[in-house]
C-alpha cells in the first residue's frame, strides 16, 4: 500500500504548479456576468506610491494608500465577502488616474459608489466633490455647506475618512488662512496633489 502512496505523491509533483492565468481572468469575468462579483479590487502604481482601488457595479467605492489586501479585508466586512482581485474590472479607473497624474485630466468620469459614507460625512464629501481642479475650499466652508457651520472639526474627520481620496478631492480643502491642514494619506501627498493642480508653487 505504501508503495502506491509513494508513487502517487511522486506523480503529484508533476501536476501543474500554477493555475493558468487565463483561468483566473475568465473566472472573474464569469462571476461578474452572474452577478456574483460584489467587489473587485486592484493595486495601481502612481507617483505618490501604490494605490489600492475597489469598485462595485455602481462605481468606484474605495481608493486607498494602504495595501490592497487591507482594503479587501475592510470591504469584505463592510460590503460583501465576495471580494475578488480583478485588475481588468478597474481598467477605467486606472486609465483616468494615469491621465490625472500626467496632468491630462482635470475631472474624473468614473462614477463614485457612495455607499461607505452616510449622513453628515457624506454631505461633506459630496460638497467637496464639487470643488474643481485647481480650486480650493476650507473646512469651515464645507461644514457650512453640509448644513452644520459649527461642525468644522467633524468636517475634518469626514474628509479624513474619505473612502475615495483623489477622485473625491479632499486634498482641495485647506485651513482658513491657507495652511494646508491634515491629510489621510499624509501631508506630503496633499502637497504633491496641490502642486500637480497648480494651486501651490512647485
Amino acid at each position: 500500500m505504501n508503495e502506491i502512496e509513494e508513487m502517487l505523491r511522486r506523480d503529484a509533483s508533476r501536476l501543474p504548479a500554477e493555475v493558468p492565468v487565463a483561468l483566473h481572468e475568465s473566472l472573474a469575468e464569469r462571476a461578474a456576468k452572474e452577478g456574483l462579483l460584489d467587489v473587485a479590487y486592484a493595486e495601481l502604481d502612481s507617483p505618490i506610491g501604490p494605490l489600492a482601488v475597489a469598485g462595485t457595479t455602481r462605481g468606484l467605492v474605495r481608493l486607498s494608500y494602504a495595501p490592497a489586501e487591507e482594503i479587501a479585508e475592510e470591504l469584505a466586512v463592510k460590503l460583501s465577502p465576495r471580494v475578488i482581485r480583478s485588475p481588468a474590472k478597474l481598467d477605467d479607473v486606472r486609465r483616468e488616474l494615469d491621465e490625472y497624474f500626467e496632468g491630462k485630466r482635470t475631472e474624473f468620469d468614473v462614477p463614485v459608489d457612495w455607499s461607505l459614507s452616510r449622513g453628515f460625512f457624506r454631505r461633506v464629501l459630496e460638497r467637496t466633490a464639487r470643488i474643481r481642479y485647481g480650486q480650493v475650499g476650507t473646512y469651515a466652508q464645507v461644514a457650512k455647506e453640509a448644513g452644520s457651520p459649527r461642525a468644522v472639526r467633524a468636517a475634518g474627520n469626514a474628509l479624513n475618512a474619505n473612502p475615495v481620496p483623489i477622485v473625491v478631492p479632499c486634498h482641495r480643502i485647506l485651513r482658513t488662512g491657507g495652511d494646508l491642514g491634515g491629510y489621510g494619506g499624509g501631508v506630503d501627498r496633499k502637497e504633491f496633489l496641490l502642486k500637480l493642480e497648480g494651486v501651490i508653487g512647485v
Binding site: E3, I4, E5, D11, P20, L23, S26, L36, A72, P81
Partner: protein
Amino acid sequence: MKLPPFQSLLDAHSGEIYRFLVATAGPVEADDCFQETWISAMRAYPRVRSSQNLRAWLFRIAKNKAIDAHRARGRRAVPVADVPETAAAPAAPGGFDIDEPELWAAVRELPPKQRAAVYCRSVLGIPYDELAELLECSRDAARRSVHEGLKRLREERTQ
C-alpha cells in the same frame, strides 16, 4: 460572523484545487470543473459559517463538480461497436501535456468517491475527520474509501 475576502480563499486554495481536479477529473475537464467549483463556492459563500472548515468545503464542491463532469461525459459518449480492450487515451487538445503519469489514468478509473479519497489522503495528507466532511460520509466510510481505492490501484499495478 466575519468571513475573509473571497480572494483569500483563491490565494490559499486555487492551486491545490486545480491540481486535485487535473488528477481526478483529468486535464481536459479540469478547467471547466475549476471554474464551476469557484462559481458555486462564490454563490454560496455569504451563507457559509466562518467557523466551518473552508478548505474541506471547497474540496467537497470540487469533488462534486468532478463527479458531474464524469456523468456528463458518460452521457456524451457515443456508443461504438467494438469496445477496445484497454481504454484509449482521450484525444489531447492542442498544447496539452500528454506526458502524464499513467497512475492518474488509473486513479480516474476508480469510482469518483475513491478518487477523491485517495488523492486527498495519500497526496494531500488530509486528516480523516476533514476527509469525512469532504466526502460527506462517516470517518469509517472515508477510511474504507481510501483503503479500497489504494487496494484497487495496487491490484492494477500487479496485474
